[in-house]
């Protein structure tokens, strides 16, 4: 006889009927719960989901492909779940177990239905059955192991993780489902009494069955029916509870992975026509978010990774990305939910009531929260969209407001005369595009390089290196204006657009295609912001360009003479370089060359480096805001740098240069903070 088991074996017909009736009820409760949330998401501004299925099959596939790819790799593959040590593995193990059990149950039902049509269609037997039983037995253990780990972790209450009473139910019922499943198997084996492979292919059940060996066949059958019902009811309750508990992320997580905007450092433009039509800018009510953004709120299961990565939260600012998402979710439920009309209390507003302005202004735009979210929720865009409204409503004041005013009047945030923009280059004689129209690459100096005395030294170093390598380059000189990056991240979209359009016109005048920038903020803006307004350029960081000059031999590097000072050096990755644009090896390459003079270069990595870097505190327009000295982001980061024992902290961003210098000084540290280019110039003695 082939190894197999009867589906609904030992289950009376009446029980089966009730089982199917309950299935219908469960699915109805589940469906209503999801539909209830779906109705809320739909009240956001449309994102053109229907357009995804317009066109021929090939076009549709091309449109769906990126999202489907994310579903496969990041959903089923759990790619973004990784990176948090043990809990990541526990989730992957639990997820694998769950998916296998889910798949198994689905296959069993298919087999049951097809066997109902004809006995010949039954496939739940033989070798398939053996593999099936064995696989499910093992994956069930994985599922239980994951659940037990998470239950244990919850008892320890890590602060970044959300806690609700229903969490105990969810994990408890998962474990109960697993245990009753194994009991059921044991009892089934106890009354069915299969032999050979049919018994041993369920090792866990087999062990349990052994302990039931004293039971009579009838009592085994009775107990089996009882446990079967318990197991079934637990499963029904779990399915019905999905949309009403944290389990909702099982449904909405994948939806958000599919719909999310995957590129870091990109914001959605707003046009003046839109503002005139809607008579508002940015987000001032929950329905102003788009449908994908509202959906993403429900994908959050409060794992707290964003909070752990957030530099504002780490320095006691009133901002946690998780809190922002959860508070917005709460507002969505309150104001768009089915019970809104009968709530009997006034619905709170978005600004001030739900999200405080200090929360919005605390964000450094470092993108760490976006990068670590397993389901691609984007708190940064939520925050920037709300900032746009606050700026539009005149809610910004203080030093950041002054910087914006100055960008408007002087085209740079320092408010220094536009006519003096190229003064830094006078002694070196950097050619302007006007004087040297046939340049190979345009050097975008940026406001810091042009006006900040410290950053001017970086700009001079870059020019020295370019000249030494015989690069045919040009600067825009007085014709360059602030990119408007800070303005855009602060929420002043139209000041940004004004500056961007002026710069794009200037760049077009000189037919610029390739731009070299030493400022990652300028780089990101020229690359990702400007392309939204017709400015398409190849933009590279100075460390990439210099690294290239070294590798191609254009920049002559003398052989090591062992004369370097031998001090330990560390490198701070700028967020907008390493995390947002994935540039982290070129600066290290150049740094290695710069340190090459010493016989034993002592390069030390910080704990948080490359794409996991920790912000210096200057992004998102925070460069222009005051921060309490004791709780500065820069102090935290500078401490990490000093803890490596480095005597030189290398950076690749003028904002980081300022912040890290301040941070080191705040701790009376003795390390000097230098741009990578400056260190190379030091080595080359040019």
């Amino acid at each position: 006889m082939q190894p197999t088991r009867e589906t609904f074996g030992n289950i009376p017909h009446s029980s089966q009927i009730i089982f199917y009736l309950l299935t219908v009820v469960t699915m109805a409760v589940f469906g209503y719960g999801v539909w209830r949330r779906f109705k809320m998401w739909r009240q956001g501004t449309p994102v053109g989901i229907k357009e995804l299925i317009v066109g021929n099959a090939q076009q549709i596939f091309a449109k769906l492909r990126p999202g489907l790819g994310r579903l496969l790799v990041e959903g089923l593959g759990q790619k973004r779940v990784r990176g948090r040590g043990l809990p990541s593995y526990a989730h992957i193990v639990m997820f694998a177990g769950f998916m296998m059990l889910f798949l198994g149950t689905t296959l069993l039902e298919i087999d049951h239905l097809s066997a109902g049509i004809s006995d010949a269609l039954k496939f739940h037997k033989g070798t398939y059955y053996v593999i099936y039983e064995f696989t499910l037995d093992i994956f069930g253990l994985l599922f239980l192991a994951g659940c037990i780990f998470f239950l244990w972790r919850r008892t320890r209450r890590p602060s970044s993780i959300g806690h609700k009473a229903t969490d105990w139910y969810v994990l408890g019922s998962f474990i109960a489902i697993g245990i009753t499943g194994y009991l059921l198997e044991g009892l089934r084996l106890a009354w069915q009494q299969p032999t050979g492979i049919a018994a041993h292919c369920s090792p866990v059940g087999f062990l349990i069955a052994k302990s039931f060996s004293g039971l009579s066949n009838d009592s085994a059958r009775g107990a089996h029916l009882g446990v079967w019902w318990l197991h079934a009811l637990l499963v029904f309750a779990f399915i019905a509870a999905i949309p009403y508990t944290r389990l909702l992320h099982m449904i909405v997580g994948p939806i958000n992975l599919f719909l999310a905007q995957p590129v870091l450092g990109k914001l959605v433009p707003v046009s003046m026509e839109e503002v005139e039509k809607t008579e508002r800018i940015g987000i001032s009510a929950i329905t102003h978010f788009n449908q994908q953004q509202l959906t993403s709120l429900d994908a959050c299961m409060e794992c707290g990774r964003c909070e752990e990565a957030c530099p504002a939260f780490a320095t006691d600012k009133p901002l946690s990305p998780k809190r922002v998402v959860q508070d917005l979710k709460g507002l969505m439920t309150l104001s768009l939910g089915t019970r809104t009309k009968t709530a009997g209390f006034p619905i709170p507003g978005l600004h001030n009531d739900t999200i405080r302005p200090e929360t919005l202004w605390s964000c450094t735009g470092c993108s760490a929260c976006v990068k670590v979210c397993p389901v691609r929720i984007d708190p940064l865009t939520l925050i920037t969209d709300m900032r746009r409204n606050r700026v539009g409503e005149g809610e910004l004041s203080g030093t950041a407001a002054t910087a914006l005013r100055r960008m408007q009047s002087s085209s740079n945030p320092w408010g220094l005369p536009a006519a003096e923009r190229a003064n830094w280059s006078e002694e070196l004689g950097a050619p302007t595009a006007k004087d040297n129209p046939n340049f190979e690459v345009l050097y975008w100096v940026g406001c810091a390089g042009s006006y900040d005395r410290r950053a001017q030294r970086v700009a001079r170093s870059v020019v020295k290196l370019l000249k030494s390598a015989g690069v045919n380059f040009a600067i825009l000189g007085r014709e360059e204006k602030c990119t408007g990056e800070s303005a855009r991240r602060l929420g002043d979209e139209f000041l940004f657009q004004e500056l961007a359009q002026a710069n794009i016109a200037t760049l077009a005048k000189y037919n610029v295609r390739k731009i070299l920038a030493h400022c990652p903020h300028c780089l990101n803006s020229l690359l990702k912001d400007y392309s939204q307004f017709g400015g398409e350029y190849e933009v590279i960081h100075h460390t990439q360009f210099i690294s290239d000059l070294i590798q191609t031999g254009r920049l002559k590097i003398p052989a090591s003479d062992g004369q370097g000072n031998g001090d330990a050096v560390t490198y701070h990755d700028p967020c907008y370089l390493a995390r947002v644009n994935g540039i982290h090896e070129a600066p290290r390459d150049v740094l290695r060359t710069a340190l090459g003079a010493t016989s034993k270069p002592d390069f030390r990595e910080m704990l948080r480096s490359r794409e996991k870097t920790f912000c210096c505190g200057a992004g998102g327009g925070r460069m222009w805001m005051e921060e309490e000295p004791k709780k500065r982001v820069s102090t935290v980061r500078a401490k990490e740098a000093l803890e490596t024992g480095a005597k030189t902290v290398a950076v690749g961003c003028p904002f980081c240069l300022t912040m890290m210098t301040d941070g080191v000084a705040a701790q009376n540290g003795e390390a000097r903070v230098m741009d990578v280019a400056e260190l190379l110039v030091e080595r080359l003695k040019i």
Partner: protein, 251 residues
């Protein structure tokens, strides 16, 4: 409650001012203009008073040519309720301005006037005081802290003086002039200015106001301050003392 806030159009504070070659005046070619920062502080304070009280009318007024509309729109975008432009010739001295403002005051009958302590172009620091004298009203100048008291019938003002903060109470109606540290004015973005275009802006000819404002002062010539000479680096304290004693003759 009604608050009158005069706004003066001045060169942007971040602009480097150039004097015309013949010294006859400032070269405004390519210069951007802004609301006098002290006036912006006054308007910000008025807006905060309005936000606190829940209700108040804020009227901004500017005196000059059509260009001043830009600054009035800015004031409306910050949150003022309506604007008045008194059309007048460009060059008016503080007394002339005070007389015009007195006429506007009589027309508007505000609860009080909040204005900058001085304008950053001529730095006269006179219009507020003269206005109070012309109207026979109380005044609190250089105010860096402002609080409405006694059922909003008076203001308790902290004044910045050389000796420290002097606190005075002034009964409404009154003229209050604002100092730098009173507040930080809110930022106005482009959509805010667009939205403010719908707010009322009234233009009044000087003659309709019944004032004959004539400047009694005349600018004869302007000249830039002399360029700073390069400093000298001394090697020792003794050398410094010697230079201070024998060259600078100050010790």
């Amino acid at each position: 409650m009604k608050i009158l806030v005069p706004l003066k159009r001045v060169p942007d504070p971040d602009t480097k001012i150039r004097i015309k070659a013949d010294g006859s005046g400032v070269d405004f070619d390519g210069v951007k203009f802004a609301v006098n920062p002290f006036d912006a502080i006054a308007l910000e304070e008025a807006l905060r008073i309005k936000e606190n009280l829940g209700d108040a009318e804020i009227v901004v007024v500017s005196i000059g040519n059509d260009d001043c509309v830009e600054q009035l729109r800015n004031g409306l975008a910050m949150g003022a309720d309506r604007a008045v432009l008194i059309k007048a010739a460009d060059e008016l001295d503080s007394l002339a301005i005070a007389k015009i403002l007195a006429a506007v005051y009589k027309r508007e009958q505000p609860s009080f006037v909040l204005m900058g302590k001085q304008a950053i172009d001529d730095d006269s620091n006179q219009a507020g005081q003269m206005l109070a004298a012309l109207l026979g009203l109380g005044q609190a100048t250089f105010v860096s802290k402002l609080e409405l008291i006694e059922n909003n019938s008076k203001a308790r003002c902290g004044r910045e003086t050389d000796a420290g903060i002097e606190t005075v109470a002034v009964k409404f109606p009154a003229i209050i002039t604002t100092d730098l540290r009173l507040n930080e004015p809110r930022y106005v973005s482009l959509p805010g200015i667009m939205k403010a275009k719908k707010k009322p802006l009234e233009e009044i000819a000087l003659s309709d106001l019944g004032v004959s404002a004539m400047s009694r002062t005349k600018i004869l010539a302007l000249e830039p301050p002399p360029k700073r000479k390069a400093g000298v680096r001394v090697k020792t304290v003794d050398e410094l003392v010697d230079k201070l004693r024998n060259e600078a003759k100050i010790i």
